[in-house]
Subunit: 452 residues, 2 copies
């Protein structure tokens, strides 16, 4: 008999069905056993009464434990009024089992699924813990965010491209890069698709890419991960950075809309709310934001600082909420020396760039801006930043042969997920997080094994 | 004035428009200059007559060269009947320029765009060469292939996930891995998302992921690249590998359908045709294929070989075309020792696995199969393959706590593109190919620079 997904059983009262899934929980009530069976669509209560089961199934009954994978043939029955469970999508029905088949056994669990765990304990048993309702909800939301990003950009004529992650040089001349032994040569893991997406503007005008990026940050905090997913787009023929910001606005809205459409139940479970987004997202210049911090939040004078501190971003997030009823706010015009060498200086505001960050609930989730598109200007800016244009010949080709005014952004998928869902640690918004001391397992555990 | 995309000008005859794009070509006819302007939507002929231009624009006229980026205000005129160009979407119109603005200059080109180049010359000037009509078509098709893959899987309830590429061990115990210095520990670049997608079956039953994978292959041939894009899916609650093959069938069809819908012009330009796909893709067991090779193609006895040679795959491709009018054919039942340790042995065909490759026009584009889902069986198989289960504790957790029968595949995006378009070298189907001697630029060039 064809498998019925659990959520579909609610429309099959009185009918025989075959359901398949994991034992989420088992409750014994005398001779009757209740099992919550979990599949990708939801949970249903299975009633196992020895007298209703065939002889072979009856024998299996005692051994059934959580996470056993079962195939169950049974009848969908309406529950009595007092037995209904309004918190469950299938709370009005239960399935009276006639036949059980064990598709896979499970060892005794280390603890109940859905237990509250500190981050290390959570990561130690990640393949198991990811099955918990909360975790499944988090990464469903994440999948919807990816889909929302992609949908709107395809609609707006962006072309997706596959970006390499092995690079010959450190993209932005910087530290914090992982080194690779590439056939005896030194290579690196890309910190961003920056150069490639700019090159691709010369090809398709509008491009996007979704992929892994790397930061060899020594910090191991609730805000850091060493490998993350970057959502990038880049667009040509812009007037200035504001056209990029307008696109970011549309993209952020589309991402949230996708979550709203697909993940209502998940948001409820995670007690998360969709962000407040006024018709146009508010924006402040860095220097304005710093003045507000001083005047309204009693921060000491920071008007010479090139960036906001994390706690200042949080305060500006509060300000945006209070002042504009917005969970998002753009900060623009970071100083030239704080941004990468390809950043476009604002001719009307010398010393400051046509760059921006987007804060979401007080944390930066997007960095972007207009880029320098003129070949000679870009070369001379490299020199100004202490870089040798000879090392960037490949990248520079795109500008040597005519590049329109252009700009773009990178968005950290895990950061958006983290902020949207209000999680305590970004590692809980990262499916398989890598940090300084862990790749799946703690690295010292692996080192010890290697020694043996 | 708002920008009009070039393709939209055909519906604006008699109207004033602003178009923006690159000078694709320039032709001087006495005092009149014709420029083919290129934007992301197409090409249009711009007519530059000194008497029609304002004074400032007239001055710029002499200097205009290919790849200059222009903004042109002008009037869309219908061409005279003899001037029409049936090979161009905008062949019935031309734009009489009134005002030119140079958005960016370009250096003199190394050679004409769209020149025929050998692979090294092509790669040396890649950022420039990608702008050629043919290259733009190739990677448009590639974007459609990605989109088709994703669309069908989302429709079939698969959940997309972000897969890490830094791994602690070599996934399949093998050679050909790139090493990373990970904070003083040894780590590797993933050869496939295999373990993670299997773990994710325990979470969502059906998952897919699109991402970069790595092979440190020493070979540098027209068939090898060292970093490529892997399209992966994995699904639980299958009966056997044939259910996975059925999904592959649906996915391949959806990918080709997306290309058909989006890339008609590109296929025509590349002189590529969509593949022949009978209602159900044909399938042969490896041993059957080997018998056919011997009997119908005069190959010497290969019935003991664990795999097909590349030239044998091509012959089987011919056979599939002739016998089944199919550009695709599955080969199943590779011997146990040829496939990874997690491959499911066929109980009805001992020594052979429930695994398959999918050949597309005589080249393997997909590898997949049913996996071992039982914890004890998987552990003992590791030992049989000379591996220590202790080194796979993280992966094994997914099986320890109940894994349904499952299977899946990996598909090489660049290989599909290569075969679909009949390109001579897979590097022409790879946006920024990495090979043994090149990361963007030749590695020896970079090494010399580092020495200085």
């Amino acid at each position: 008999m064809k498998r019925t997904l659990i959520i579909e059983t609610i429309r099959k009262v009185g009918q025989a069905v075959t359901v398949k899934g994991w034992v989420n929980a088992r409750r014994d009530m005398g001779k009757i056993v209740f099992v919550d069976l979990r599949d990708r669509s939801g949970l249903a209560q299975i009633v196992l009464v020895p007298s209703e089961l065939d002889a072979r199934s009856d024998e299996l009954l005692d051994g059934l434990r959580p996470e056993f994978v079962l195939e169950i043939k049974g009848i969908v029955n309406e529950r009595g009024e007092k037995q209904r469970n309004p918190n469950l999508a299938t709370g009005n029905i239960e399935i009276l089992a006639k036949e059980i088949k064990i598709l896979a056994r499970a060892e005794t669990l280390p603890y109940e699924l859905d237990s509250e765990l500190n981050i290390e304990a959570y990561l130690d048993n990640l393949p198991f813990n990811l099955r918990a309702e909360k975790q499944r909800a988090i990464f469903k939301v994440q999948a919807a965010l990816i889909e929302g990003f992609r949908k709107i950009l395809l609609k707006k004529n962006f072309v997706e491209f596959a970006c390499p992650k092995i690079v010959a040089g450190a993209t932005e001349g910087g530290a914090n890069v992982f080194k690779i032994d590439y056939f005896g040569h030194q290579a690196y893991l890309a910190q961003s698709p920056q150069f490639y997406k700019q090159i691709m503007v010369g090809v398709y005008e509008r491009v996007f890419s979704i992929g892994n990026v790397y930061r060899a940050e020594e910090h191991d905090t609730s805000r850091h991960i060493n490998e993350y997913t970057s959502l990038d787009f880049e667009m040509g023929f812009i007037k200035d950075h504001r056209e990029v910001m307008k696109m970011v606005d549309a993209v952020a809205r589309a991402m949230m809309l996708e979550v709203e459409k697909k993940c209502g139940a998940e948001l409820k479970l995670l007690q998360a709310t969709l962000p407040a987004m006024p018709k146009k997202l508010p924006t402040l210049k860095l220097r304005q934001a710093q003045k507000i911090l001083e005047e309204q939040f009693g921060e000491k004078d920071c008007s010479k600082e090139p960036d906001l501190e994390p706690h200042q971003e949080r305060l500006i997030g509060e300000y945006a909420k209070r002042q504009f009823n917005s969970d998002f706010i753009f900060i623009t015009h970071y100083p030239v020396e704080k941004r990468p060498m390809y950043t476009f200086e604002d001719p009307k505001d010398k010393g400051f760039t046509r760059s921006f960050d987007l804060l979401f609930r007080g944390a930066e989730i997007v960095t972007g801006g207009q880029r320098i598109h003129e070949y000679e200007k870009l070369k001379s800016n490299m020199i100004k930043f202490g870089l040798n244009p000879d090392n960037f010949q490949f990248y520079l080709q795109a500008f040597k042969y005519g590049m329109p005014p252009e700009g773009g952004i990178g968005m950290g998928l895990e950061r958006v997920t983290w902020q949207l869902l209000g999680l305590d640690n970004i590692k809980r918004a990262t499916l398989f997080p890598r940090d300084k001391s862990r790749i799946d397992e703690p690295l010292n555990k692996q080192d010890e094994r290697d020694k043996r």
